[in-house]
Amino acid sequence: MAIATTPIRVLIGKVGLDGHDRGVKLVARALRDAGVEIIYTGLHQTPEQIVTTAIQEDVQAIGLSIHSGAHNSLFPRVLQLLKEQGAGDVTLFGGGIIPDDDVPRLKAAGVEMLFRPATPMHDIVDFVKGLRVER
C-alpha cells in the first residue's frame, strides 16, 4: 500500500535561453497543489543539466516549457541524452508555443504529450496523475 501513496515526482523546467516562465510556474503550482512532488529547475537550463537533475532526483517524468521556437532541437536533444544515460523510461512532456505542424514529429520522436496554449490546467494535472496508473 505504501507504493500507491508515494507521490509522483516530476521535474518541471525551462530549457534553453527562453525566459517566459509565467506558464511553467502556474503548471508547477497546480501540480504541487494536486499532490505531485515538483522539482523546479528554474531558467536557462541546458538539456544536459535537465537530464542530470532528472536522474539525480529520480523523477518519473520531465515537463519542459519552450516559448522560443527552439523546441525542434531541444526536445529531441533531451530524449537523446535520457536514452544515452539509461533513463529512457522517464516520460517527457511539454508545452509552450509549438505550432501544430511540429507536434506529430516531436511525438514520433518520443515526446509523450505537448500541451497547446490555453490548455485547461486540470488536463495537465490529469495527465501527470495518469502517469502513475500506467507504471
Partner: protein, 531 residues
C-alpha cells in the same frame, strides 16, 4: 433589476460600481489633478495639442532570421507607411551570446534577428538612413554593446551622433522581475545603464538611453496596478542612481522613456496611461525638483497585450488588438506597436503584420478619435479609475521603500511573487468561467482553421555560425584582444564603457566575446527561485 453578476470587477480585480458620479471624485480637483494637456501634472497628455499636431509613431517590433532577412522586413514596413523601426533580437543576442555558443543551439534567428558583430549590424541597417528614421532596440542585458555597434555604424557612415534618434530598452530591473534575460548582478548592471544615460546626455541628445518597461511585467501576469507601480518605481531607481553618479537631473531626465502594455480592460488601460503621467510628474517634482518641465513628462511607447491573444480562432486577435490599440491612443501614447494575429504561434508573416499596421492607420485616419486631446478627461468613471490606479501604485511604493528599494525587493522575490500570485488568480478566474475568452472558454469551435506561419529554417543558424567563423579569421587578433582588455580595464575602474566598447566592436570583437570579458569583471546573476 437583477444584474448578470453579483460583482463586477476590472481585469485587475478593482470593484466596478453600476454608475459613477460626483460622489466618486470627492477631493478631486480639476486644476490639481487634471490640469491642461502639456502642463503639470500631465494627466491629459504631455503635449498641448497631442495628435492634432503629430500622430503617434507607428512602430512594429520586427526581427527574425539573419540581418538580411530583417533588413528586408524593415524596408517592407517602411514602404507601407510605418514611421519608426523597432528591432527584435533573437535569444542568444538578448543573452549576450554569439550564434556559435553551445547555449545558442536551436535558438538562432527564431525569436528575433541574430546580431553577433558590427558587420551584422551594418547589414541590418543597410540602405536605411539612420539620420532620418528613429530606431528602437529591444535589448537589455547587453544593450550597451548593441548601442556601441549602432553608434559605430553611424560613425562609419559619417552621421553625427547628435542626429541619431531612437531608443534602447536597457531596463535590467524588469528583466530580474519579469522578462528574465540578464547578464550581470544588479549593481554593475545599473552602473552600465547610468553610463549609457550619461553618454547620451553628452553625445546623443535625441536618443532615449532607456525605455523603462512595464510591458513584460504585465505579460508575466501582473495587474495594471502592479505594472504601473513596479515600472515607475524602477524608473525612480534609475533616476536615483544617475543623480547619485553626479548627473544633474535636467541633463538626462528629458531623455527617459517608458513602455507600457495595453491589455483588454479598455477603461482601466486608458486610466493607467493617465495615472502613469500624473504619478511620474508628481514623484519627479517632489523628489528631484527639476527646473526643466520636460524632466517631469512621461513619454511612452505602448504595445498591445501579447498574452491576450489566443491560438484558437486567431482572427479574433485582430479585434482584440484593435480595441487595445484604441485604448492606447485614448490614453495618449507617443508610439505604438500592434500585435499580429498569428503571434501566439510564431513571428508574424508579412500579411499579418501589414494588417496589424493597417489597424493603427485606420484608427489614425478614419475613426476621428484623434481630434480632441484626452477625450475621456472629466469622465467620472475614468477619473475615478485614474485615482485608484495612482493610489494603488503609491501603496506599492511605500512597501518597496520599506523593503529598502527595488533591488532589495527583487532579491527577496517580492515583485516576482506578487506577479505570480496575480497570474494565478487570473488563471483561476478563467478556469472558473468568471473571465470568458471568446473562442477558448466560450463560443468554442471544434474545427480549428490553421493560418500560415512564418518558419525559420536551420540554415539561418548554419549561415550565422559560418559568418562568425569568417569574421574571426579576418580580424587582427592582437588588436581585437587589446580592445577587450581595454573594455575590462574600463569596467574595473568604473569609467564610462561606451568609448572602449565602440573601439572593441570596430576591432571586430563579437558580442559574445565582449560580454564574456565583462562577466569576468562583474560576475553573473543567480535568480532567487520563486514558486
Amino acid at each position: 433589476m437583477n444584474e448578470r453578476k453579483s460583482r463586477f470587477s476590472s481585469l485587475s480585480g478593482l470593484d466596478i460600481e453600476r454608475v459613477y458620479g460626483p460622489d466618486h471624485l470627492k477631493g478631486w480637483n480639476v486644476e490639481q489633478d487634471l490640469g491642461q494637456p502639456g502642463s503639470f501634472p500631465y494627466t491629459r497628455g504631455i503635449y498641448p495639442s497631442m495628435y492634432r499636431s503629430r500622430l503617434w509613431t507607428m512602430r512594429q517590433f520586427a526581427g527574425f532570421g539573419s540581418a538580411d532577412d530583417t533588413n528586408r522586413r524593415f524596408k517592407y514596413l517602411l514602404a507601407r507607411g510605418q514611421t519608426g523601426l523597432s528591432v527584435a533580437f533573437d535569444l542568444p543576442t538578448l543573452m549576450g551570446l554569439d550564434a556559435d555558443d553551445p547555449m545558442a543551439r536551436g535558438e538562432v534567428g527564431h525569436c528575433g534577428v541574430a546580431i553577433s558583430s558590427l558587420a551584422d549590424m551594418e547589414r541590418l541597417f543597410d540602405g536605411i538612413p539612420l539620420d532620418q528614421v528613429t530606431t528602437s532596440m529591444t535589448i537589455n542585458g547587453p544593450a550597451v554593446v548593441l548601442f556601441a555597434m549602432y553608434l559605430a555604424v553611424a560613425e562609419k557612415r559619417g552621421i553625427p551622433f547628435n542626429r541619431l534618434g531612437g531608443t534602447i530598452q536597457n531596463d535590467i530591473l524588469k528583466e530580474y522581475i519579469a522578462q528574465k534575460e540578464w547578464l550581470f548582478p544588479p549593481e554593475p548592471h545599473i552602473a552600465i545603464i547610468v553610463d549609457t544615460i550619461a553618454y547620451c546626455a553628452a553625445h546623443v541628445p535625441k536618443w532615449h538611453p532607456i525605455s523603462i518597461s512595464g510591458y513584460h511585467i504585465r505579460e508575466a501576469g501582473s495587474t495594471a496596478v502592479q505594472e504601473l507601480a513596479f515600472t515607475l518605481y524602477d524608473g525612480l531607481t534609475y533616476v536615483d542612481a544617475a543623480v547619485k553618479s553626479g548627473l544633474d537631473v535636467d541633463a538626462f531626465a528629458p531623455q527617459l522613456s517608458f513602455f507600457f502594455n495595453v491589455h483588454n480592460d479598455f477603461f482601466e488601460e486608458i486610466a493607467k496611461f493617465r495615472a502613469a503621467r500624473r504619478l511620474w510628474a508628481r514623484e519627479m517634482e517632489q523628489r528631484y525638483h527639476p527646473k526643466n518641465p520636460r524632466s517631469l513628462q512621461l513619454r511612452c511607447h505602448a504595445q498591445t497585450a501579447g498574452c491576450s491573444l489566443t491560438a484558437q480562432q486567431p482572427m479574433n486577435n485582430v479585434v482584440r488588438t484593435t480595441l487595445q490599440a484604441l485604448a492606447a491612443v485614448l490614453g495618449g501614447t507617443q508610439s505604438l506597436h500592434t500585435n499580429s494575429m498569428d503571434e501566439t504561434l510564431a513571428l508574424p508573416t508579412e500579411e499579418a503584420v501589414t494588417l496589424a499596421l493597417r489597424t493603427q492607420q485606420v484608427i489614425a485616419s478614419e475613426s476621428e478619435t484623434v481630434n480632441c486631446v484626452d477625450p475621456l478627461g472629466g469622465s467620472y468613471f475614468v477619473e475615478s479609475l485614474t485615482n485608484r490606479l495612482e493610489e494603488g501604485a503609491r501603496d506599492y511604493f511605500r512597501t518597496l521603500d520599506r523593503m529598502g528599494g527595488m533591488v532589495a525587493a527583487i532579491e527577496q522575490g517580492f515583485p516576482q511573487r506578487e506577479i505570480l500570485d496575480a497570474s494565478q488568480r487570473y488563471q483561476r478566474e478563467i478556469e472558473r468561467q468568471e473571465r470568458p475568452i471568446v473562442g477558448v472558454t466560450d463560443y468554442v469551435e471544434q474545427e480549428t482553421r490553421s493560418i500560415p506561419i512564418l518558419k525559420i529554417g536551420s540554415e539561418v543558424e548554419q549561415e550565422q555560425v559560418a559568418r562568425l567563423s569568417d569574421l574571426r579569421k579576418s580580424r587582427d587578433p592582437f588588436k581585437m584582444a587589446g580592445s577587450l582588455e581595454e573594455v575590462q580595464e574600463t569596467a574595473a575602474c568604473h569609467q564610462n564603457l561606451l568609448p572602449a566598447l565602440i573601439d572593441a566592436v570596430k576591432a571586430k570583437a563579437t558580442l559574445g566575446e565582449i560580454c564574456a570579458a565583462l562577466k569576468e569583471v562583474y560576475g553573473t546573476y543567480r535568480e532567487p527561485v520563486v514558486l
